[in-house]
């Protein structure tokens, strides 16, 4: 193994030479002894212990990752690896140094390199990115929410990259990340033209409920509703564009006549547009002849910045915000490269202020976060493929890994508290 030969060569090179870094040499030596001992496989030493508790957890739950029975003050790498439903490899890693008692504890210790830095107990999960060599523009979107994401956490000797897993791996623990708690029911709904999936918490009910709407990516996205149901709310995710079972064209005019929500949560969305969005872009299905012309910026990325900027709104497309009759929470990623979220939030705030309804408005604004603020501890996507045919378009969502992860974690807690407050009172 190349790693071993290099280490042995270093050792011979250092014999009899001045030591430039005492600490560095000690680190190399501590692994030299153990590397040889471990590889030798006389089997006289059990592998170090790596634990993840609880091993089966909900996606929004923190888990405790620890390693023990290691040499003291030695470099190690913790690495997470996962295969998506489409077979793509995702990985994350952190470089740590063991403590004086030969342990690593992600709840207390600091990563000094890798996918994240500092004390980040869940960095191995939110830091997941497509592995080198995987397709460009991937986004992790779970379709089957009834099975978990399986993430293998490995402990490796030295400060290495996940590529060296085979030669450097000391221990592995398998974790399962679930979108549904036991007892949550998933129900397909195809009724009166409505296409959706209803998630019900376990128990007799009755439950506070929400309707879950995604963006113009279309389809039927279930994972957020599954998580919300796992937190005690009935959640109905509906499809309104680009779904094989949809026959009805979305028409939101007049919706306010019968929809009286108790509260609203909006993430990075517009309050109007420069065209009739619903007729032009939100079509139930695409046919051969039906070409959508997605707005793009100068760099060629999908961009709604111009279209959804309040100064460009076409008359009649702006939502009558002044008629808002319930609390509204607006979640905003300040580095959103796709939507002019800050401008829209400011518009909403101004209109409500003029209507003396400021008390209804809460804005959570996250520096460094992008457009796709989703469930906590899930990977951040800065760029993904929007469309492949008839031509390839990429979408730049924005955000940077660490602040985006912080935004997902904080906003999720606040969303659940907000729903609790306004739906359970």
């Amino acid at each position: 193994m190349i790693g071993n030969r290099a280490r042995v060569a270093v050792y011979h090179h250092l014999i009899g030479k001045q030591l430039t870094s005492y600490v560095g040499l000690h680190r190399k030596l501590c692994w030299l002894h153990s590397a040889i001992a471990v590889r030798w496989r006389t089997g006289s030493t059990p592998a170090p212990i790596l634990t993840a508790t609880p091993a089966r957890a909900l996606v929004d739950e923190q888990i405790s990752i620890k390693a023990g029975f290691l040499p003291q003050h030695c470099p190690v790498t913790l690495c997470a690896q996962m295969r998506s439903e489409d077979g793509d490899r995702w990985e994350a890693f952190g470089h740590y140094n063991t403590s004086a008692d030969g342990t690593v504890n992600l709840a207390q210790d600091h990563s000094v390199g890798g996918s994240y830095l500092g004390c980040e107990p869940m960095g191995l999960f939110w830091g997941l990115q497509p592995a080198p060599g995987e397709r460009v523009g991937l986004r992790l979107r779970m379709k089957n929410v009834e099975i978990p994401l399986t993430v293998d956490i490995s402990l490796m000797e030295g400060h290495v990259s996940p590529r060296e897993r085979e030669s450097a791996e000391l221990a592995v623990v398998t974790t399962e990340r679930w979108f549904m708690t036991p007892g949550v029911q998933r129900i397909d709904i195809r009724q009166n033209g409505v296409v959706g999936t209803l998630f019900l918490p376990p128990g007799p009910g009755r439950f506070p409920a929400m309707v879950d709407l995604w963006g113009m990516g279309g389809g039927l996205v279930e994972y957020r509703s599954a998580m919300i149901a796992s937190r005690g709310f009935a959640s109905f995710s509906i499809a309104y564009m680009e779904h094989k079972d949809l026959t009805v064209q979305l028409d939101i005019s007049g919706a306010d006549a019968y929809m009286k929500p108790s509260c609203l949560v909006c993430i990075n969305g517009p309050a109007g547009s420069n065209m009739e969005l619903t007729q032009t872009l939100c079509k139930p299905k695409t046919s051969e002849s039906d070409q959508r012309f997605w707005p793009q910026d100068n760099a060629g990325y999908l961009s709604f910045r111009e279209m959804s900027s309040p100064s460009n709104y076409s008359p009649g497309t702006q939502v009558k915000i002044e008629n808002l009759a319930c609390p509204l929470m607006y979640i905003l990623g300040e580095d959103d490269q796709n939507f002019p979220s800050t401008k829209n939030s400011n518009l909403i705030e101004d209109v409500l202020k003029a209507a003396r309804k400021s008390h209804l408005y809460t804005c959570l604004s996250y520096p460094g976060a992008g457009h796709l603020i989703e469930t906590p501890y899930t990977p951040h996507t800065r760029l993904s493929v929007w469309e492949l045919k008839p031509r390839k378009i990429l979408a730049l969502w924005g955000g940077h890994v660490a602040p985006h992860a912080a935004a997902q974690e904080d906003s999720w807690k606040k969303i659940l508290k907000f729903l609790d407050k306004h739906l359970r009172a």
Partner: protein
């Protein structure tokens, strides 16, 4: 509670756990000072229903926290964080003599925890709960593999942790009740040990005690030689009859050199030349010492008393060279395990053995044979092969003390195994 009141929020965490992990149960959004019942229901593999329940009153904030609040009645009383698990018993109307055991170690056990209005003690089926949650409890961690073993005459299931290894090994020898309970080996593998759940020979299958002994030695060798196992870090784990076999092997085997030995509810009685299956049965000579309790359950304890000093009737524990953990309950009515253990300690001290012999003793407990939080049931059915009759044996202990014993002894067992089989292997560097 009126129909219009918002439903309470019942929460449980973790919803998917290993069987030796505790869970936290809370109810919120109740009116203050509301009487409620928390109930835990489980249907066993045998299709029997088991339940536990506690009576609570919500505090001024409308909350009940099982970890902090006292149950005023039900199958348990007082502040008992996990009593919804360990105080479970068959629902009224069930068959008698039941014991909660899982045969399939690879699938989870499901528990439904519900909250009811008022203090309910019966007829739960006729009532509608206010809220309900489900919990899965597993013997295997994700990634643990179970492999059937049929090799060199040895039969059992080998459970292997995930990862490159190597790992310490364990030979898991369960009680004399027969069959193949895999659960403990599955759980031990989830804690980082390659563990063989050994299937026993049928009574009379092996012609002599020597052959029986060879069977155990072959099983030990099989674990020791497994490519994922560290050869000099293989321990013995025995319960009841298995504990006796473990002690005998640790003392007298020239082949098996265990790294350590955990013995629950077993003694060093091993009349030489006699079949293992025979030693726990009453013989003609001592059948007069059989007692029954107030419910006509058999007590086997006195069969082995008084403890004899005759060496031909017991294993020579003075020859044991590995660390030994003996776990007993003083109220064990099946075997006089405390007296046995005291005798073992005397024998070992007489030759100045410095190796630790730990003897946590649990007053008021029978033998802590199951992982923690399992229901403790005083009397269960047991088949006595000589008569093919089902008798009900009394194991001892009331519900609460044995559950504390189970929880405490399991922690001690895991710590003991880790200390002796995962001992620090790197010399502390001097800077």
């Amino acid at each position: 509670m009126s129909q219009a009141a918002p439903p309470p929020i019942l929460s449980l965490a973790p919803t998917r756990a290993l069987v030796d992990e505790a869970f936290r149960v809370r109810v919120e959004n109740l009116p203050p000072g509301a009487p409620v019942t928390l109930r835990c229901l489980h249907q066993s593999e045998d299709k029997d229903f088991w339940e536990a329940y506690g009576h609570y009153v919500s505090d001024a904030t409308g909350t009940v926290s099982v970890a902090d609040d006292a149950s005023l009645g039900g199958t348990y009383r007082g502040i008992e964080a996990t009593a919804l698990l360990w105080s479970m018993r068959p629902v009224p109307g069930s068959r008698t003599g039941l014991r909660l055991r899982k045969r399939d170690a690879r699938s989870p056990a499901l528990f439904t925890v519900s909250v009811y209005d008022g203090h309910v003690g019966r007829d739960f089926a006729d009532r509608r709960p206010l809220a309900e949650v489900l919990a899965e409890r597993w013997y295997v961690a994700p990634g643990v593999r179970g492999v059937d073993v049929r090799e060199r005459g040895v039969r059992g299931t080998l459970f292997i942790p995930s990862g490159p290894g190597p790992f310490p090994g364990l030979l898991d020898m369960r009680a004399g009740g027969g069959g193949l309970p895999e659960c403990r080996s599955a759980l031990l593998a989830s804690h980082g040990y390659v563990s063989l759940a050994l299937e026993y020979f049928a009574p009379g299958e092996l012609a002599s005690a020597d052959l029986e002994f060879n069977y155990f030695e072959s099983a030990f060798e099989l674990v020791r030689q497994h490519p994922s196992v560290v050869p000099d870090k293989v321990g013995l784990f025995g319960l009841s009859l298995g504990a006796t076999a473990a002690i005998y092997m640790a003392a007298e085997s020239s082949v098996a050199k265990p790294g350590c030995c955990v013995c629950i509810g077993g003694g060093h009685f091993y009349p030489r030349g006699k079949a293992l299956s025979g030693i726990s049965q009453p013989t003609n000579g001592n059948v007069g010492k059989l007692r029954v309790d107030e419910e006509q359950n058999l007590i086997w304890r006195d069969l082995s008393l008084p403890v004899s000093s005759d060496l031909s009737g017991k294993a020579d524990v003075r020859r044991i060279n590995c660390p030994l953990l003996l776990v007993n309950g003083q109220d064990d009515r099946n075997r006089p395990t405390s007296e046995d253990a005291a005798d073992m300690e005397r024998m070992m001290r007489s030759v100045g053995k410095r190796r630790p012999l730990s003897r946590p003793d649990y007053p008021d407990a029978g033998r802590p044979s199951e992982p923690p939080y399992s229901p403790r049931f005083r009397a269960t059915d047991f088949t006595r092969d000589s008569e093919k009759a089902r008798v009900t044996l009394l194991w001892g202990g009331r519900t609460k003390a044995p559950s504390d014993a189970q929880e405490d002894s399991w922690k001690k067992i895991l710590a003991f195994l880790q200390q002796h089989l995962y001992s620090p292997q790197y010399p502390r560097a001097r800077m």
